[in-house]
Amino acid sequence: MSDFTADNGPAKGDAKSSLFHETTRTKRRNAAEARFKAYGIAAIATGLFFLVALLVAILGNGLPAFKQTFVTIPVELTEAKLDKNGNRNPEDLAKVSTFGYKPVVTDALVAALKAESIEIPFAKEKDVEDILSASVAAQVRDTVLANPELIGETVDFRLLASSRVDGYFKGRVTREALARDKNLDAEHLDIADAMVAAGLMKTTFNADFIFGADASESRPEQAGIGVSMVGSLFMMIVVLALALPIGVAASIYLEEFAPQNKWTDLIEVNISNLAAVPSIVFGILGLAVFIQIAHLPQSAPLVGGLVLTLMTLPTIIISTRASLKAVPPSIRDAALGVGASKMQSVFHHVLPLAMPGILTGTIIGLAQALGETAPLLLIGMVGFIASNMPDGIASGFIDPNSAMPAQIYEWAKRADPAYYERAWGGIIILLVFLMTMNIIAVLLRRRFERRW
């Protein structure tokens, strides 16, 4: 306001002041206008820049996790080492531990290198085994135990390379960095290069990352997100089965039946506050009520699902109420007019019409729950290795498992940088799920939304 009363206000009697001649003051005001607009554009550009930076970081760091370096070599399964009695008795076979298999695999690697006349520059030829993952002996053993008839034959195996070799081909590990590394020497990388040239080693798509189980801290090359994906799935089943009916029922009551009184007010205030309570507080609630008092098993998807249900309920209730409110009163009046009871008018007419909106809200709520991590930390869904698929439906709900975001957090905490790549890769998978759910929600809204 002061602009208009200031002494340099509209120039009195200044003949030059017209629409065609900008005075300094007009210039200043126009410049301020342009600056202001530029700030707005800059703000939006900054926001979008962060979005792009985030996506670039995710894709750039995460995509390599979907590829893995494999070594394909023929392994001679010598009977003398793997089945001394020669009777293929499963119990005797099981007695040979992974340690018994290790030399078999190492010998096979050495033989394969020699066959391709790749020089082994180590004092002990055995040291070349560091190229392979620590998991390969177990892999060969499992195959043999499942198919005892293979003993005595030479079988082609596709074995995981160690995470450092894998990182070398992905550009994460350099020769200089290996100078300080006890696990692998630069000579190993020379061999690896030669193996690639000879076709023994290849970096290909790694389905085990998507469908496999988590591995111990020392074997990042083996870790996958599949088991925690199943954990997340079971949690989402719990959330859907509880939050949708309860949320819809609560919204119907509040929107259609609730009288205007203190109790209703209390419920409404509660719902809007719960929507803003920090998610970690729900984790504390889950820990205290479901684990401390109700003695439900720790780390179980059932408990995770219950906690996330309480967290998503406000979201679902708010969106359901909005879509119930959008159904015009004339529908209710018409139903009541032909003799329906209040309950019938709601369940037979209003609810079906509001369903697309309700489903959209539910899917968005589910997506929110799927990405939530903090409450899961408190009910113990981290800190252990989700290495086994659940045996059945009941065990899927009750047995300890991880969830996708918890698994990502777990990987981010581990010391080996190879796990960071896994964590980014896990995020890609998580985001693909979230994106799919959101797209479904948008399509649902576009397809079924009615304007009255």
Partner: protein, 488 residues
């Protein structure tokens, strides 16, 4: 799985009731539907509900009460010498349960007969080995009182389960019989069914209150426990945070609180200008096309899970800040990638869409007449925004900022991964500090023993967090609501 069977049995009884109730009503009206008070299905549903509700209610109550009763009975069998406090009693009781489970499994697999399981003695048999053979590994040898308690536990459980079956089926059948007898053509079946449904709807709506109650009670009780072990004054005004599970911890909240505040301030310094200017541009300047693209894109930032931001802070922003402010090659202000600045910047990015979409709504709610008046007097667009629209929208924007602040204070994953673990009272934003939420996570993760002050402090921290965010939220909502009333 007898529980599952019981459940299925009740369901089957309910379905049978539905069919019989429906037929009975129709028969009473001699097949003429017009003589019925309600539609035939309501008579069926009435019987169905009369079976399910008492049956399931008894089942649920029994399932809650039986373990409590048995626990009380069995724990009185354990000699006082075997435990010192409640925590170790719980440990003994979990041993008892485990042994009882083991005996059940042994009986099931046939390695023990029922009588053997009942009469077995620790003096005569090596229980641990016997149970180990059926796949139940025990941590230590079984004391005789544990075994006795386990055997008592098994008998009481068996009797309890048997009685439960009888009681549940009894209740269901009683409901069945009563509702069937009352079914005739003049019965107001629809009204009674609708009453039950309304009750269910009210129950569902009350869950919100139960949740709040659960949060408040679980926080309050554990916080009181904590203050019994650790003086409240030292907690609220202590300036050192050094928990050690061995004892002698100092648990002052001030350094955590400072860390939380510092991170939130930086986050708001990033989010508020960017979010506010974005909102102003989108609502006052942008054409419909730009708005249709930019607004959803900005809101994508809000849909990204916080764990992603956490990882972004830890692995991208942290190292990037290190190259500028770090000790080798940079300005030397920063010791490691985790710092208040790292977490604050990333949290600010997370909050941008939160601030912008809330402010956008509020700016749009300012009546067009006010803008027109200002423009008509010759003000430029930016003058209108600064001198008319923003003052009018100010209360709402303050509300939005408060909501964003409450978000920032309660945010967990970004600070867990990005802010570090050292509790310090320091002004350097490139220093690693820790926050309330981070400490809640680290004090409670993977820990089921709630007897020590070091674990219980997490509840006190949670309580503080809950109260602060609640106050901010309520304050913000009141402001927003009051403001809206002015123009609607």
């Amino acid at each position: 799985m007898p529980l599952l069977w019981l459940f299925i049995l009740i369901l089957a009884l309910g379905l049978l009731g539905f069919i019989l109730g429906r037929t009975r009503a129709l028969k009473d009206a001699h097949g003429d539907i017009r003589l019925l008070h309600s539609l035939p299905n309501y008579y069926g549903s009435n019987v169905l509900l009369a079976v399910l509700i008492p049956g399931l209610a008894v089942l649920l109550l029994w399932l809650i009460l039986q373990p409590m009763l048995i626990q009380g009975q069995v724990s009185s069998m354990i000699p006082n010498t075997a435990y010192t406090d409640k925590g170790s009693l719980n440990l003994v009781m979990s041993d008892v349960r485990r042994v009882a489970e083991g005996l059940d499994i042994a009986v099931e697999q046939g390695s023990l007969t029922r009588e053997q399981a009942r009469d077995i003695r620790t003096e005569l048999t090596d229980i641990r080995a016997r149970l180990g053979a059926v796949g139940v590994a025990l941590g230590s040898n079984v004391e005789s009182y544990v075994l006795k308690a386990a055997q008592k536990y098994r008998t009481m459980n068996a009797v309890g389960n048997w009685m439960m079956t009888v009681a549940v089926l009894g209740a269901a059948l009683a409901g069945f019989a009563v509702s069937m007898l009352r079914t005739n053509k003049d019965m107001r079946a629809r009204n009674s069914v609708e009453k039950v449904i309304l009750g269910l709807l009210i129950g569902a709506a009350s869950i919100a209150i139960l949740t709040t109650l659960g949060i408040v009670l679980s926080l309050i009780f554990n916080t009181i426990e904590f203050f019994k072990l650790y003086p409240a004054l030292d907690f609220f005004f202590g300036t050192t945070w050094s928990p050690s599970f061995g004892g002698g911890s100092e648990l002052g909240i001030l350094p955590l609180f400072w860390g939380t505040l510092y991170v939130s301030i930086i986050a708001l310094l990033v989010a508020v200008p960017i979010g506010l200017f974005a909102a102003i541009y989108l609502s006052e300047y942008a054409g419909p096309k730009v708005r249709a693209i930019a607004k959803p894109l900005l809101e994508v930032l809000a849909g990204i899970p916080t764990i992603v931001y956490g990882l972004f802070a830890l692995l991208t922003v942290g190292p990037m800040l290190m190259t500028v402010f770090g000790s080798d090659g940079g300005l030397g202000w920063m010791q490691g990638g985790r710092s208040v600045m790292t977490a604050g910047l990333v949290m600010g990015v997370m909050l941008i869409p939160f601030v912008s979409s809330l402010s956008d709504d509020i700016i749009n709610a300012v009546p067009q007449a006010m803008r027109d008046g200002s423009l008509g007097l010759g003000a430029t667009k930016s003058e209108t925004v600064r001198q008319v629209v923003l003052p009018a929208a100010l209360p709402g924007i303050v509300g939005a900022i408060l909501l964003a602040a409450s978000r920032a204070i309660g945010e967990t994953m970004i600070v867990v991964l990005g802010a570090g673990a050292a509790a310090k009272l320091n002004l350097n934003p490139f220093e690693a500090m820790t926050t309330v939420t981070t400490r809640i996570v680290s004090q409670l993760t993977g820990d089921a023993d709630f007897a020590s002050a070091e674990a219980l402090v997490a509840f006190a921290l949670g309580m503080t967090l809950f109260v602060i965010t609640l106050c901010l939220n309520i304050f913000a909502l009141v402001i927003v609501r009051k403001y809206r009333e002015q123009y609607d």
